[in-house]
Amino acid sequence: MIYSILQLINFILTYIGISYSQYLPPYGALFQRLIVDTIGALLIFIAASLTIVVVIYIFRKWMADLQQRIGPNRVGPYGTLQLIADALKMFGKEDIIPDNVDPILFRFAPYLVFIPLIMSYLLIPYGTIYHWAIIFTNVNVTLLLIIAFSAIPPIGEIIAGFASNNKFSLIGALRAAAQDLSYEIPMMISLIGVIMLTGSLNLNTISQYQWHYIPIAILEPIGFLVFFVAVLSKMAVVPFDLPESESELVSGFNVEYSGLRFGIFYLGVFGSIFFGSLFISTVYLGGGSDLPFLPGFGYIWLLIKAFIFTFLFLTIWVSLPRIRVDKYMNFGWKYLLPLSLINLLWTMVLLLFIHGVL
């Protein structure tokens, strides 16, 4: 009985990629495995949450710098504790659920946005497999899993918008759905180029490939560009923050949210910014591959790359206006999609060249 429950848990953990035991080990080892995996998962959960907090702090300071302000500087040294104060304030707020909302979906939606995001943090290899590195999972379909996880948050946004019983949030939800369709297809097609090149869906293999040869961003510049823009729209920040667009739709799909649930949406935005940076630097810029003169510090290189991307995304956020919905659809379907297909073609040519046919 217990064994079969453990079997089930192990199966689920394997399936979502936390554990990489493909078959069921004997009793003791299974327990060990489970405990180690659970602790590891918890650690990465805490680490991911902390990183999000750091990203928010950096964002506020960096944004203030760009806008000739000072930014948070009152709570703690250099305002570092400001976010903790904000979080405490947010958690202490009254939990308001408006009348006539769908109570279950309304409560459920924020978690649907946030949990898949945190889980996808577990799938990134923090370092190369050759050296000491933080790698939680080595399933062969990491890339597919990440895409699957990243497809869930827009659904959470749509549910939040529909459940809120508010016209603004309804429009926001419809925008989220439309936007989701127009970026996800180019994003996946540009990833197919990477898969063709490396012959693997495993992020470990992909980053090793780049460690052995050169970053894929150099081999496939068009694919990199398309992926960059798609990731930018996936984060739903300016210029692509159509579901939120606070100047038109007040706050879009999360109009009716307050307190803790709003806080979760807020964390989700910054979480997806940092995850997007991690993902793009893993797939296109070698990720955790370490330099020859600093072996074993792959995760530091990954973090450096990711933070460079984070700064880039944040700078784009503060400097651009919001694109209009119909123009965005045009952009997604008429430019991004053909470009990603061209990238596919280019990859084929590249492969022929690599295999010595051309």
Partner: protein, 368 residues
């Protein structure tokens, strides 16, 4: 499938209605079918209240009309009362009034530029615009002691002469401003998304503009050369050299261009005024302090001035007592706002907000 029309109330509590406007918007998906402005949420009864107060006390109501272009509001009322009561104004005061009216025009347009950026989702230009506005406000604070409701232009002159430290601060501002303005402008006009959002959106043909009696930068962006400062000069506007920027674009981008050019022209006027500033009295000594209460007037007078938003007219009727019999205000923002339905039909929601922001309404003045 049945097509359903979604009716949404934009405002009165909405982040980009520039105050408390309520727009009854009918939507077909994202497309705006009609937008009916509903006003009156900031009605403060300025016109009627003015009948129960001394001529000089009414100035505070004028201050609160257009709360980002206060000097121009005060100016209109003060000119009307002076015309009614036949009050002489010293020459220096007239130049000072011009100086502050033009500085205020710059400050007002800066607020507009910042909030327009916010309406389009750009956060950063707002801070750049307000940084410059802050320096103008410091100049105002120096002479009037206030940062929002200045009460500076008073009947018979101005409240105070320029303090000693004004000279340095003003010259510093005048030196820095053109470069800063270019920087702010480049944040907008070098941005492809911004141009896409503004060009060809919110078309207002000149005939329609005239039929709605639209004035100010909005009219001039439709290609009509109409500026009170030129066609019926008040103060000493005929003694300074400046141009009226006009654009034939008729769209949001034209209004954006016209306002930015207007800031340059206002700075040009302010510079000239400061050079021409004669020494002497700044206030008619009959109307200093308690003398202000004794203003009496009979008959009627109408004065129109060019406020940052357009033609601002004040009509004052006096019955010979110390209080006006009737005060009526012609509000430019009210007339400009009335055309919003014409301009946004068939546009998207995002364009509705952008168009509204280029009309630049201030609701203290619309509702009065």
């Amino acid at each position: 499938m049945e097509e359903k029309i979604l009716e949404v109330n934009f405002g009165p509590q909405h982040p980009s209605t520039h105050g408390v406007l309520r727009l009854k918007v009918k939507l077909n998906g994202e497309t705006v079918l009609s937008a009916e402005p509903i006003i009156g949420y900031l009605h403060r009864n300025a016109e009627k209240l003015s009948e129960f107060n001394y001529y000089a006390s009414n100035l505070i109501f004028m201050d609160r009309l257009d709360y980002v272009g206060n000097h121009n509001m005060e100016l209109g009322y003060v000119l009307a009362v002076e015309k009614l009561a036949g009050i002489d104004v010293p020459e220096r005061a007239i130049w000072l009034r011009m100086l502050f009216a033009e500085l205020n025009r710059i400050a007002s347009h800066l607020v507009w530029a910042g909030t327009m950026g916010l309406d389009l989702g750009m956060i950063t230009p707002f801070f750049y615009a307000f940084r410059e506005r802050e320096r103008i406000l410091q100049l105002f604070e120096m002479v009037s002691g206030a940062r929002l409701t200045y009460n500076y232009i008073s009947i018979g002159g101005v409240y105070n002469d320029l303090p000693n430290e004004f000279d340095e601060k003003f010259k510093e501002f005048v030196n820095d401003f053109p470069a800063r303005l270019n920087e702010l402008k480049s944040l907008f006009e070098k941005n492809e998304i911004f141009i896409q959002r503004m060009k060809g959106i919110g078309i207002l043909p000149p005939e329609v503009a005239k039929s709605y009696s639209i004035t100010g930068p909005v009219l001039r962006a439709s290609g009509v050369n109409y500026d009170i400062r030129k066609i019926s000069p008040y103060l000493y506007y005929d003694k300074v050299d400046f141009e009226i920027p006009i654009s034939h674009g008729m769209d949001n981008y034209a209004r954006f261009e016209v306002r930015f050019k207007e800031m340059e022209q206002s700075l040009k006027i302010a510079k000239q005024v400061y050079e021409k500033l004669p020494p002497g009295e700044y206030q008619n000594s009959l109307y200093k302090k308690s003398g202000l209460i004794n203003i009496k007037g009979a008959g009627e007078s109408y004065v129109r001035t060019e406020s940052p938003r357009g033609e601002f007219g004040v009509y004052v009727v006096g019955d010979g007592s110390k209080k006006p019999y009737r005060v009526r205000i012609r509000s430019p923002a009210f007339h400009n706002l009335s055309a919003v339905n014409e301009m946004v039909k068939g546009l998207k929601i995002a364009d509705l907000i952008a168009t509204l922001s280029t009309l630049d309404p201030v609701f203290g003045e619309v509702d009065r």
